[in-house]
Amino acid sequence: MLDNISILFQAPIFAVDLLVQGLLIGGIFVLAAYGLALVWGVMNVKNLAQGDMVILGGYVAYQCTLWGMHPIIALPIAFMLLFALGWGIYATIIRRVVDRDMFTSLLATFGLSLLIQQALNLRFGPEVKIAESGFGTLDFGDLTIPAIRFVGLGLAAVLAVGLVLFMRNSRMGQAIRATAQDPRAARVLGINTDRVYAFTYALNAAICGAAGVLVAMIWNIQPFYGIVHSIRAFIIVTAAGLGNLPGVVVAGFGLGVWENYSGFIFGAEFAVAAVVIVLVLVLMVRLFQMYRVRQVVR
């Protein structure tokens, strides 16, 4: 472990390498986490199927390459397809668990997650798939970075900026924000909260789908990889604190970088543990902060 740290000091280029690679993948983590923060904050639904939607988006990209399209084109397609799917899932399942205690939504989406995994497994088989972008690798001296990672970060950024603008300025965005704060008051003002919920869930699915296309181009996909993405999204949102969207961005990039560094320093076998332990630590720190400063109860 100490050897590994000393490498970073002796050859700082690799420290930079890890940092850049981490930031580049962090962008994708941010997308899925942002979607989760949205449904969690607005509808109080903890979507365990988050990662499976990501993977689903990845398979859309894969399918598109099978049809001879470039996977980048799959991005809008996955976005729209998953939007529609999200709407459908809302109408059949989520609508009935909104407003219930947290475990209801957690478990319902766990069931959903199983269904998506198996559907993908039956359709595409359990093998690892990729959607090859063919963009090659960029060389910067010792730094070799796959070009697709830059493209992915760029696309993620475009998507994220679009989302923020949408939430800030569009009427639907405002309605979503209002519903998040007080659904009953929103209804009194004539906002159709059911539609807002449906839209929010569908939007989340769409974001996940787009993230999935990037995942399929940058890493690889497999029907059962969703859980990893779900866990990451939960870690990011939890660490950022609910309703803290800038925090989600910071935490997302932070997680990307930390995964790379901890994999390097402690060895890849502890990468997952390192990430989860950071989550537990963040929760603990918050707990101690709150130990005296409790929420005021009226």
Binding site: A175, R177, Q181, D182, A186, V188, I191, N192, G243
Partner: protein
């Protein structure tokens, strides 16, 4: 202590103290007992009486409404009429179903049978945005309902959510600011830092953005300090007398409510026990004993 008390209530404070005012506290009756006694004196107003109270030009009318939550029925054959530009106050013990009446008008309950009519339109099965948009019904909730994370301005814009364009909503918001400088002073503050009274004011004015014809107001004075209570009633008074809005309100501070309203209904166990003009009910010693706290 107790003889002094009586004096205080009748002579000193009655005249001067605003808000809840003061009064004797000798009458000690349980809810069940109130219900029982009201049932005994209930006149169960007939349709003719209801029509007469509303005057020649009824604007809001509820006919034989049966409604509740889930499978549980709370309102049993409830009827009510309010004329155009009139105000009506519902009073009654806790759990009588007063809020449920308002909920039913706005469509937050299950309606088993009966009909709600506003300005000649049957609105019973309108969705809540149709209620606001087409029938001009605005609802001010019993508990806090400002969007704390948004600014005062944004809250008002949300009030105009159903307007055709955002520009129209903003325009309407400006009008409100002109009218209530107290809000204008805080337009860029987050709503959660407002004091209780200002919040109530924001809630009421937000409901006015869509220029509704009918206002449903649930307990405007709950949790407010005495001076704010007066202020809220002044605003409502202004809306009714100057702008000609029709107001249906629920008020636990029954004395205030009945003083304000043209007509009053006494609700018990989801049914109307008595109905009359505000003054009539105020003057009724039984009502006084059972609902005004002696």
């Amino acid at each position: 202590m107790s003889d002094n008390e009586h004096e205080v209530s009748v002579t000193v404070s009655e005249a001067r103290i605003s808000g809840y005012g003061s009064g004797g506290v000798e009458t000690v009756i349980s809810v069940e007992e109130v219900v029982k006694q009201v049932e005994a004196i209930a006149d169960g107003p007939d349709q003719a009486r209801i029509d007469a109270l509303a005057g020649p030009d009824p604007y809001l009318s509820i006919e034989h409404l049966k409604a509740g939550y889930g499978k549980m029925q709370i309102l049993h054959d409830f009827s009510l009429k309010v004329g155009k530009g009139q105000s009506c106050c519902l009073i009654g013990p806790n759990g009588a179903g007063k809020s449920t009446v308002l909920h039913s008008i706005f469509g937050f309950t299950n309606i088993f049978s009966g009909k709600v009519d506003v300005g000649g339109q049957d609105v019973t099965h309108y969705s809540s945005n149709e209620k606001l948009k087409n029938a001009g019904i605005a609802y001010i909730l019993q508990d806090k309902s400002v969007f704390g994370g948004m600014t005062v301005e944004e809250n008002l814009w949300m009030g105009g959510y159903l307007k055709e364009t955002t520009a129209e909503a903003k325009e309407a918001a400006e009008k409100i600011f002109e009218k209530y400088p107290r809000l204008a002073a805080r337009r860029n503050h987050q709503a959660k830092v407002l004091s209780g009274g200002e919040r109530r004011l924001l809630e009421i004015s937000r409901a006015l953005v869509m220029e509704p014809e009918v206002l449903l107001v649930d307990e405007p004075s709950i949790g407010l300090e005495p001076r704010f209570i007066d202020m809220v009633f002044e605003i409502l008074d202004d809306l009714q007398r100057v702008e000609g809005k029709t107001i249906l309100m629920v008020e636990q501070n029954a004395k205030k409510g009945l003083e304000f309203a043209d007509i009053g209904y006494v609700l018990v166990s989801g049914q109307t026990a008595m109905a009359g003009t505000g003054e009539e009910l105020l003057a009724n010693p039984e009502v006084g004993r059972l609902f005004l706290g002696g």
